[in-house]
Amino acid sequence: MQGFEAVYKQHRDAVLRFAMRCVGRREIAEEITADAFLQLHQNWEAIDTGRLPAWLLTVVKNRATDYWRRTGLEKRYETEARPSPPRPRDEPMTGLFENKALKPVHRICLTLRYLQEMTVAEIAAYLGLSEMQVKGHLQYSRGLLRKQLTMGQTNE
């Protein structure tokens, strides 16, 4: 029989990571994760541990829904940044940050910095990295993309 402690240790990282994806802020993700395990603790006798971690993730999703409802950030997106319908003549680009040497973390940093225009500090807080690491990823990625760009122009 698994005790609560074992279940907590087994699932806490996965639940926190899922919560991060759902709310994007570490401190909120922590609060939601703690809520999920608190709820599990309170209902421990009634819950079949075979339903874990799905049960915990459902709690997280519900809490995340409440969070977004409270913050009203979605309204800000709706009013300020509602995407215009794609125009047939314009093709969205697919290859801006495409390079086989780029790892997912490089693409994430590039997109957040140069498309989303987030600060280095914001990216670092979001990804749980140091600012130095983010700057390093960005510098490496810019170097690669510039090289790619130069080679493309030379070939033309």
Binding site: Q10, V23, L38
Partner: protein, 291 residues
């Protein structure tokens, strides 16, 4: 969120990609913030989530960002976070650092000494109850199964393997379909995973992997009998890169379906050979025997 902290090199880089970014924005509109993007693609519904998902469907950069973030390993729970979370359900600070064994050994010694001396201290618990377990663990009846269920790791077959199996013509299409169908599974949305993997299992009747992940998704939703059926079908198809995984998850599914003898046979098979599941399969054998 607009950033004014660009270095000179970054400013130059932005100028170099400016034309492409403008063209992109003209085509798909402004991109939603990453937290909204991830929330919507993780299945969280909110007032603007429909707009975000519609944007995601037409914006390759957001689609790529969403995929990268879904795979990104956010840092695990830190010690400070762990302490704060435990505090929510009542564990006193600092108690978590003392293991059960730290208390148990002196406790047993003390209890033995008390017994020998014939002292009436036995009326008092030798170990403070709150110290025995780092977390208060309410009593719970033993579950009907003994094998631990965790999410199966994602293993995508190499194109070369598919070619070897004689699927050369379809291998590229298969990999694309399979990878797309795994997205909900990757995001822990097992109900959606089951619904999108099922047609892939029919479209590619020779491949084992979609059937395997369908089986695991069903298992994670406690649909044990259906999971057994899918996992047996995955094995019938040859197992592919998930051969050992099939045996383990089949053992778990069979145990949960009450077919202990069959579960034991699967565990014995894994325990007898070297592989990722050897240790846990051997441990499971002991549990299955005890039942």
């Amino acid at each position: 969120m607009s950033s004014g902290d660009f270095t000179r090199d970054e400013t130059e880089f932005r100028q170099e990609i400016e034309a492409a970014v403008q063209t992109h924005r003209a085509a798909v509109g402004p991109c939603p913030r990453p937290d909204l993007l991830m929330a919507a693609s993780s299945g969280v519904t909110f007032e603007g989530s429909g707009d975000v998902l519609r944007h995601l469907a037409v914006c390759p950069l957001c689609e790529q960002l969403s995929r990268d973030l879904a795979e990104y390993e956010f840092p695990p729970v830190s010690e400070a976070e762990d302490r704060r979370m435990r505090a929510r359900w009542g564990a006193a600070p600092g108690r978590t650092t003392r293991s059960w064994w730290n208390w148990r050994i002196p406790a047993v010694t003390a209890a033995a000494a008390a017994l020998l001396a014939g002292v009436v201290f036995l009326r008092r618990p030798a170990v403070p109850p709150e110290a025995i377990s780092p977390l208060p663990s309410p009593a719970k009846p033993a579950p009907a199964f003994v094998l631990t269920l965790t999410k199966a790791p994602i293993r995508i077959p190499a194109a070369a393997v598919l070619t070897f199996r004689g699927d050369a013509d379809d291998s590229k299409a298969y990999l694309a379909d399979f990878a797309a169908a795994l997205e909900p599974y990757r995001k822990d949305d097992y109900a959606e995973a089951a619904s999108v993997l099922e047609p892939v299992t029919r479209k590619y009747p020779k491949t084992a992997e979609p059937e395997f992940y369908l089986g695991v998704s069903l298992l994670l939703m406690s649909q044990n009998d259906a999971a057994v059926t899918s996992l047996l079908e995955a094995r019938r198809r040859g197992g592919g890169v998930v051969t050992d995984d099939i045996s383990w998850y089949l053992a778990v599914a069979l145990a949960r379906s009450g077919k202990i003898a069959d579960a034991r046979a699967e565990a014995e098979h894994l325990c007898a050979r070297a592989g990722d599941y050897k240790t846990q399969a051997c441990a499971a054998l002991g549990q299955l025997k005890a039942k």
